[in-house]
Structure formats: C-alpha cells, structure tokens
Symmetry: C2
Subunit: 335 residues, 2 copies
C-alpha cells in the first residue's frame, strides 16, 4: 500500500491511503489519525489500511484526487532521522576535496549521523535558507521508515523492521559542512530540514525491485528541469538497509517511526564522465564539482541559488514515479 | 508549576501536575494527554495547568502521592534533543586527553550536537549498556524544553522560548567517543539514551535563581552514594541558554518540545583538586580522570560498571532537589 500525510493544520497532518497510480486517495483517519499513530499500532493498523488500499485500487470506495502539493513530509515531525552512508563512492568523491581531515574510508562499517527530525519538509515545500551563498546542495537518497528495533538486533530483525520506503533530499549547506565536521560534533548547521517524497510505500509495492535490503530502481534527478542524475539505487550500495539499521541500533533501541537514510546514491563511473556520456550523472552537486575539479581543474556546476529547482523521483521499470516526486525550489528565508 | 510524565503503558505517558514539594500529584489529563500535547498548545494549556498547580499547592484538590519511580522522561520520545557546550572547561579538560584531533577551543560560538531523542530514559530507569567495558560515564547537565523558535531568532526570542527546566544525564560510552568524533559524523554510538529528572519546572519555580538565561543553583552528584561533584550551574557558563537556542536555530526552526542541554556543568578549579579540597568536584568521570592524569600521571577514578549507581539533582538554596533526582544504576542489556 501507499500512504501519505496531508496538510490539515495540525503538526502531524492527516493520514491518507493513496492509490497505486498516485491519482486518488482515501482518508486513513478511521484507522489512525496520522502516520506515527499507525506505526505505533502497525500490527493492527497495517492490515486495516491495506484493506482500504485494496478497495481504493479496485475502485470500490469513494475517493478524492490526490494532490502531492498538499502532502507534508510523511512524518512532518519524526522522533529520529538517521542518515547513513551506504554508497562509499559518495564519500570517496566528496572527501577528496571537502577539506575533510579524515579521507580514510570507513568501509568496515557504515557512518551514521543523527539528523534534525523535528521539522521535515514536504515534497513541494521550499528549501528555506537564510543565505543562498552558503553553497546550497541536495542529496538524493532512499529512505526507509522502521518499526521498533531492539538494541543489538540480528541482521534479519533489522531487515524485517522496514515498514515503508520513499525518497528524500538531504539538503546540505556545503559552506558549513567543513566547520561542522572539523569541530568533531558532526553535521548540524550544515543540514537544514530534510525533504521527503509525497508518498511512502510498503516494500511489496516495489515487487522484486526491493530485494537484498536494497531498492533496485533508478532515481531520476533534475536541476532546473535538466537531467542531472539517474543512478540505480541497487548498485554500489556497500551497506544495505539491514546493515544501516543494525548499526544504528548498536548501543540503543530504535522506536517505531525511525527514518533511516541510505546516504547519497552514487554509482561508480568508469572515468566519471558528465551525465551526457554514461547517463548516470550525480545525486548531488558536490560530487559533480569534485569530478569536474579533477577533470578540468575547476568546478563548473554551480550550487543552488534562490529560485533554483530540484526534482527527485524513483522510477519503476516502466518509468513511473513509485512514490511521487520531490520537486522543490530554493527560497530565501525572511522573517 | 512542576510537571511530570507518568508511566501508563503508552509511549508518551500521562501528564501529571506535581506539587512544589514533589510529594503529591494530580493528573493533567483534563488539559492535555501528555507533555508534548501540552507544549503544542502551551498558550492555553499552561494557564490551565497552572491553575491545577495552584490548587494542588494550596491543598484544595484531591491528589495522590508522587512516586518518582513511576516517572518516565518528561518527553519519553522527543522530536529533538540538542546538546550544547555551555561550559568551556569541560571541553578543555576532556579534549586534552581524549585523543581529539582538534584541541582548539571554540569559544566564539557553542558546539552543538543532535542527540538521539526517540527513547529518552526516566530518572530511575537503568543505564542499559551492552558491555560495561565501554567506559560508561555520566554527564550532569541542565536541560530546558523550549516552545517553537523561528529560524534565526533574536536573543530575546531565544530566551523567551524556555518553557521548562530540569536536569539530565548525557550518558556517554567513552571508549566509542574518539571513533565517533574522528569519523567526523559526530556522536552516535557513544551516546545511548539520555536520562532526565523526574520533574520539569517552569522558570518561575526557580525564583531569582533563574536569571541571565542560566540556572544559578548547585548540582549534587553522587556515585555509589559518595559525593562526586557539586558545581554551580550558574558559574562559568560561557554560553547561556539563549546563546545555545539561538545557535541551534541558525539554519532551521525548532519546534515546541525541543530539548536543549547545557553541556556538562563544570566550574574551573584553582588547581583542580579532588572533591575533598574545594568541594566542587566533577560532573563526569572523564574530567576527573583527565585531572588525575595531569596530577598523578595516572587516572584513578574508574568508569561505571554493572550495578554502579549515579545520582544527579539540582538543589535550591535550602538544599532541596527542585526537580527531584536522577538516580540510576548501570545494567547490562540482555535480549
């Protein structure tokens, strides 16, 4: 089934069951007022929501048109947003020139950081920045929402905890990253609100594309309507979601509604050519710039500025966006 | 007024209004089901809860005995737990020997890290660790819970956002700290669930001891019933809570229910003598060990082991714990 959180004037929004084709929805309010409440009672709420979903997809229930512009983040305020680093080549590329003190790759276990989870952005909400000179970047990722995970879970417990899957944009202010990392306390100021796809889907909605705890589908990323990247999220994911979840629960349990990010999706290029050459491109501007510096001696791709638009979707084999698209513009925050 | 969250089998617990002397309580359920709900509607809920509080303190309302053992963390699952570094001497001491790559002090602006907020511990819950060989330590801090804070607040907006005050224990696994910091992603595995005092109090409950955005009261910290530290939280706080909150909201807004920690409370010693000498002592074991290494060439104070007990309270001028005491034992986590 596919679910969304619709704007209703309340902090947690209104739970909605969305049709497979993303065209219609039915309120999930009879089952749970919002997605967190559904996750808290998943054993009973999931079957009830699945029943609504089946009726909706069969056209056997009154429904309304689904407008992704009305979608908040699936969990507009979540209790935990943990971003991983599943794809090593992102770190390889970015760390070569970000001034990181520690270029050594951590290939033995995944890096994780605790992100701000109290105000997550909807798919069409603006990327609000105080200053667009901060090197505004996006990072296209796959995100999963888990059920409860005990401390020190087995790999299969970690794998089985995945409830819902979507895309996200881990918005990054590159000019603040080095400072955040160098003080040792990790990302903080450099990571404003992360944005999420308008819809979340259960693993079964992806069919065989969800296997080995990875999503074997391509992203489609555009910047100002030009294709920027289309890496396959199933390729080069060194740490899969079971690895990331198990690592996250290494010294503490996770509660239902924990969001785990894959890290920036990247596929290794033969010689890192531009998007025109191999069609893979990049899932963030920093990587493109890093490759350009190596190749041309100078970064060419500019960071995002006020009004710039970024779109991120995950496409099924037929090219349809499974969970809708993140489609945001940068906007200058004004009091 | 003083509030608490009592165990009721639900993830967010039950809101309670606690008497000034911490002996009695009345359910706050007529006003809001839990503390987060009260914070979401503070303009109306605060006066209603204050009315209950007045009646309770005047003995004019039916009440029940308050048992801090029944208290969960005030927000057992919070949307944001941000720990600051208000007291520079903690960093000075710990960084001299923790192997940190960056011993340079950041005295121009406070360091902050985003902590795991999804499973916070109650005052009497065990400190659960998978292995007590991980150098289990406590950090005694003051914590405030805020209302909503806009991005880039003024200092007075930041100051006015403080709704509630309590103590906390930022439990730390020292053996994992260096690794967390060296990979640049910040504290993660080294910080299991943080613990909080059984009661939270509005600033007015502290009278003139809450001024200049600092709490001018002494902590009382014991380890296995022996006095370990009694620093004054109002002394040597280089960054006050207005500074910490304003810094936290530098690139994103904060929502109601955000918890901000002061960082480990430390007072500078003349020559860092043991607790017997100047009566100040320490708010964490790592600092005591750092000072011992400098003084004796060897750390003497052991880290916490299975069964060890740590207690943290903030005392009023008469020596009474204003928000009760954190009183926890280390326990080995078993599946």
């Amino acid at each position: 089934m596919k679910l969304a959180t619709l704007r209703n004037g309340r902090p947690d929004g209104q739970l909605a069951v969305v049709s497979r084709d993303l065209k219609r929805f039915v309120s999930g309010g009879k089952v749970a007022p919002n997605l967190q409440a559904a996750l808290d009672t998943w054993e009973t709420s999931a079957p009830a929501l699945a029943e609504i979903s089946q009726a909706l997809n069969a056209g056997g229930i009154a429904s309304r048109p689904f407008d992704p512009g009305e979608a908040l983040a699936p969990l507009p305020r979540a209790y935990s947003w943990i971003d991983g680093s599943g794809y090593l080549s992102h770190l390889e590329r970015v760390r070569t020139l970000a001034g990181s003190k520690d270029a050594e790759l951590q290939s033995a276990r995944p890096l994780l950081y605790q992100g701000g989870s109290d105000s997550l952005s909807g798919a069409n909400e603006p990327i609000l920045v105080s200053d667009d000179g901060l090197a505004v970047d996006f990072e296209a990722e796959i995100a999963v929402i888990t059920g409860p995970v005990p401390m020190l879970p087995t790999r299969s417990e970690a794998a089985a905890s995945v409830r819902l899957i979507t895309v996200c944009n881990d918005v990054s202010l590159r000019r603040l990253v080095a400072d955040d990392l160098q003080n040792g306390f990790g990302f903080f100021h450099s990571k404003p609100s992360t944005s999420f796809g308008p819809v979340v889907a259960t693993p079964d909605e992806f069919g065989s594309a969800w296997r080995d705890n990875k999503l074997h589908l391509k992203l489609r990323i555009t910047v100002n309507d030009a294709l920027f990247g289309q890496p396959d999220a199933g390729i080069d994911m060194h740490f899969d979601f079971a690895d990331l979840i198990a690592a996250a629960a290494g010294t503490r349990r996770l509660i239902a509604g924990t969001i785990i990010g894959s890290g920036t999706v990247t596929n290794r290029h033969e010689e890192a050519p531009p998007i025109k050459r191999d069609g893979i491109g990049f899932s963030c501007i920093a990587e493109a710039r890093a490759v350009e510096k190596l190749k041309y001696g100078k970064a060419r791709t500019p960071f995002l500025r006020d009004g710039d638009r970024v779109s991120i979707a995950v496409l099924d084999a037929a090219g349809a966006p499974v969970v809708g698209a993140i489609d945001q513009r940068v906007a200058i925050y004004r009091r």
